[in-house]
Symmetry: C2
Subunit: 216 residues, 2 copies
Amino acid sequence: MKRTHKNNPQVAAPVRGELFVVSAPSGAGKTTILKRVLAHLHGVTYSVSHTTRPPRPGEVDGRDYHFVTHEEFRELIENGAFLEWAQVHTDLYGTSREEVEQAVQRGEDVVLDIDVQGARSIRENYHGGVFIFIVPPSMEELERRLKKRGTETEATIRVRLENARRELEAMVEYDYIVVNDDLDLAVEVVKSIFLAERTKRDRVLPLVQAMLGLTL
Amino acid sequence: MKRTHKNNPQVAAPVRGELFVVSAPSGAGKTTILKRVLAHLHGVTYSVSHTTRPPRPGEVDGRDYHFVTHEEFRELIENGAFLEWAQVHTDLYGTSREEVEQAVQRGEDVVLDIDVQGARSIRENYHGGVFIFIVPPSMEELERRLKKRGTETEATIRVRLENARRELEAMVEYDYIVVNDDLDLAVEVVKSIFLAERTKRDRVLPLVQAMLGLTL
């Protein structure tokens, strides 16, 4: 019999997926790392957020976002539908509990790319979850990276560095801390965290016991 | 400043190393996997065991084993010097607490390749440790692998399969369960467990805080 990766719990997520919450101060390289990790891993998706902002050209409702009105959003908040939500300028963004729950029940891993406040809400509102924090190798390097973008004034960079310093204090709340010194290495390490979490006993045990015909 | 991997907690193990205990039923592929994982990871070593059996040609005391007399071994047992020990035929083999402790204090990860009984002793005698269990994809495949060795009779294979079935029941005691269906994949996953464990918060926090000049 030719075995396919579908049979392997390390590749196709079995049983129930896991929620991965990833945070980092601006300039740490989180978005770049996540993009590359997700390109190399099967069975991991971003959850589709709800938002009150209007769709941009090309955006599809239900794929890019669930586009809702302010009234609908407020009602969802009142019904406890969000694991976390935040206001950005006048727009509201939220992560729906049902959206995450449906994905993990399909056996998918779900990634949330959110700030330390959002992560705190997840911890309060969700049972489980793997929390990853990405840090720059030094404050000097973070400053260099923020300056390299070239789009911001010296004053804005000062503010961002101060914010970063405050956000970095939240790293004690996370399960894993990944230093983004060498990008390739950081990508490998974050990918490793996903693979390792997928082989945790409680996640694979029922499937493995079934595979081996064990009745415990 | 050119950064070296020495600065990176994901490569050079910082602070304190970790003890990795790896078990598997005979035929699961544990030894092959570990050999390949250790060839691709820095900062991981096997601990040097104590044994009462005489050195074979080429074996060096202190490198391959600590060769001791039965009397010395018995005294070490009485002094609680072993995290685990076992008798194989008339020879005694043991893992010294001091040996492991010195390595992890140097910041090295230590691998113990031992059976489920040995792993139980480690759990009783060591604070911490990461426990990995490697399983075959099915009992049929395990039987095929045992037969392929070609050195054993049908009766011996029956006994080994029965032993394997009993050992497999111990998988519930381990932190990670790795299915060795595709060897390359299993190697990647075990390597991932090592990398992921190296980025756990409690392990890297002091180093990362120092790197970033944070005083928390």
